[in-house]
């Protein structure tokens, strides 16, 4: 569900390591999932999406994994770079209302040298 009132959890990784950001979604009927990246002071940017009929999708340096059994979504970033430092949000589209996205709490990724 929506968790807009919670402080963001933080993940700290060393440059060059792989990052895994996790998200638990609420609606087992959700059909479509998205990961967004938000840099400080800017609007969120689309990273990658996945439909419920898939369990994995790869992009450039990013992979999204979907486990519908436990309602879990993850974003893997390979060879994390300083430019990856941002807040990452997952979002889901419930099938009962495809006009809306429901955003997760967000995770702050900090990359240190």
């Amino acid at each position: 569900g929506e968790s807009v009132g919670l402080h963001l959890p933080t993940l700290s990784v060393q440059e060059g390591d792989n990052s895994i950001i996790n998200c638990a979604y609420s609606n087992s009927a959700s059909d479509y999932f998205i990961w967004y990246k938000q840099e400080s002071g800017k609007g969120p940017q689309f990273i990658i999406d996945i439909r419920s009929n898939m369990d994995k999708r790869q992009g450039q340096r990013v992979t999204v994994l979907l486990n519908k059994t436990v309602k879990h979504l993850s974003l893997q970033i390979a060879a994390t770079q300083p430019g990856d430092s941002a807040v990452y949000f997952c979002a889901e589209t419930p099938v009962y209302n495809t006009d809306k996205l429901i955003f997760g709490t967000g995770t702050r990724l900090q990359v240190f040298p």
Binding site: G5, G43, P44, T105
Partner: protein
């Protein structure tokens, strides 16, 4: 690809003053449009969305209102601002393909 414009970029307003934030979209027609608010270090709260001209759905009861006078224009308003209205306001639009939303650069509002 579509582009979302928001203005102003920053705004400082006293408590009790009115508010008008504007969002316009280029590169698409008849988009779904959205207003979100984000408090510092927090997640995104959906305030309003619109699936067409004059059609507004309110997600959270508050002293804000939204209007859509034209297909690609979305306005967020208030008659009297509260301190709790401070935040980062984001306008978003649906893409023409799947369900991803594209976000504007945001307006940072500080109510003093």
């Amino acid at each position: 690809s579509q582009t979302i414009h928001q203005w102003p970029a920053t705004l400082v307003q006293p408590v009790g003053s009115p508010l008008s934030l504007e969002c316009t979209v280029e590169g698409t027609s008849n988009p779904n449009l959205y207003w979100y608010r984000q408090a510092a270090g927090r997640g995104l709260q959906l305030l309003f969305y619109s699936v067409g001209i004059g059609q507004i759905s309110s997600e959270v009861p508050q002293n804000l209102s939204a209007s859509r006078p034209q297909d690609r224009q979305f306005i967020l308003s208030s008659k009297k601002l509260l301190l709790s209205d401070s935040g980062f306001y984001l306008c978003a639009s649906y893409g023409t393909g799947a369900y991803e939303q594209y976000f504007g650069p945001g307006t940072r509002l500080t109510v003093t």
